[in-house]
């Protein structure tokens, strides 16, 4: 009887390990950019998305506020503080061969101002922008690196 119990315990542990092993760690780059029409400087760190930004928006200046490489694990949210009272929460909730599914929440003063789910492929970028920041706006650039 004791042996059967120990076998069941072993099976249970293995099952738990297997469920956590289903999600591999995914590296996601999150850049917080301030875009404005004050000046015409573009942060050198934004060279790789400079063309995208220039083609998409009418801003003249792009300044990198934060550059973060997040190691996302399934269903474990990671929170980034953007500015006073404003934060971004990123959660990996789906993982496929060439894409990942992310849940992104923007919070302001403890309230969700944006709640979105995106499917992100390798080499692609999701830009979330609009909330005012100083003289310009905040743009969040999320890129998958897997």
């Amino acid at each position: 009887m004791r042996r059967i119990d120990s076998i069941f315990a072993l099976v249970l542990v293995l099952l738990l390990l297997s469920t956590s092993a289903v999600f591999a760690e995914v590296q996601t780059r999150v850049r917080i950019i301030e875009a404005s029409n004050l000046g015409s400087s573009i942060d050198p760190s934004l060279r790789d998305i400079h063309d995208q930004l220039g083609n998409l928006f009418n801003f003249t200046s792009y300044r990198l506020l934060r550059d973060l490489n997040l190691n996302l694990v399934g269903n474990r949210p990671v929170e980034i503080l953007v500015h006073k009272g404003r934060s971004v929460e990123v959660t990996l909730f789906g993982q496929y061969l060439k894409t990942v599914e992310l849940r992104i929440k923007i919070r302001q003063d403890g309230m969700d101002v944006l709640n979105t789910q995106v499917r992100l492929a390798h080499g692609r970028t999701v830009l979330i922008g609009g909330p005012k920041h100083g003289e310009g706006v905040i743009i969040l650039a999320v890129s998958g690196q897997f």
Binding site: L114, G123, T125
Partner: protein, 170 residues
């Protein structure tokens, strides 16, 4: 002096059953030529054998042996057939590979592997052909616009504070 009948009578039964050596046979036969008592004893042995043998042979002759074999075959067929489950149980009981101490961990390992494999197959199969898509978006504070550019490999989610605000997208 030793009585020759007593020594031969011990061999007489062996002689009757043809189990004596050549030396013993010549000894018994030379004694039988002169001894009436031993001859009588041998005859009574033969009578006894005939008395037992006759009814057996008579019964065997009366019996039709082909029918006997048919009866045996019919009995074998009539025996209760085992179900596949009983046959499997029997096989598992016989095979040392399927003793509890072997098959319980084996089955547990198989279940775990199956679980992991199934999860990997169902979770990691690229079921979405398109590269990036906004699956869901909700905002109670802002108006939301979504723009996808395949050429620039970028998806834009833009938040407007009010309907009068113009999108900065060129």
């Amino acid at each position: 002096m030793k009585d020759p009948c007593s020594s031969v009578s011990k061999l007489l039964e062996k002689y009757f059953d043809q189990e004596v050596t050549n030396k013993e046979r010549s000894l018994v036969e030379s004694h039988l030529r002169d001894c009436l008592t031993c001859q009588d004893e041998l005859r009574s042995m033969e009578k006894l054998r005939d008395w037992v043998k006759a009814p057996i042979e008579e019964a065997a002759q009366e019996e039709e042996f082909p029918w006997v074999w048919q009866k045996i075959e019919r009995e074998i067929r009539l025996q209760k057939r085992l179900t596949w489950w009983q046959s499997l149980r029997l096989w598992l009981d016989v095979s040392p590979l399927f003793k509890k101490k072997v098959w319980i961990p084996a089955v547990a390992t198989a279940v775990v592997l199956l679980f992991i494999t199934a999860q990997s197959i169902f979770k990691k199969t690229p079921s979405y052909p398109s590269p990036s898509v906004v699956e869901y978006v909700e905002s109670q504070t802002y108006n939301v616009m979504i723009y996808e550019s395949e050429k620039a490999k970028v998806t834009v989610i833009w938040l407007f504070e009010g309907p009068e605000q113009e999108a900065p997208i060129s």
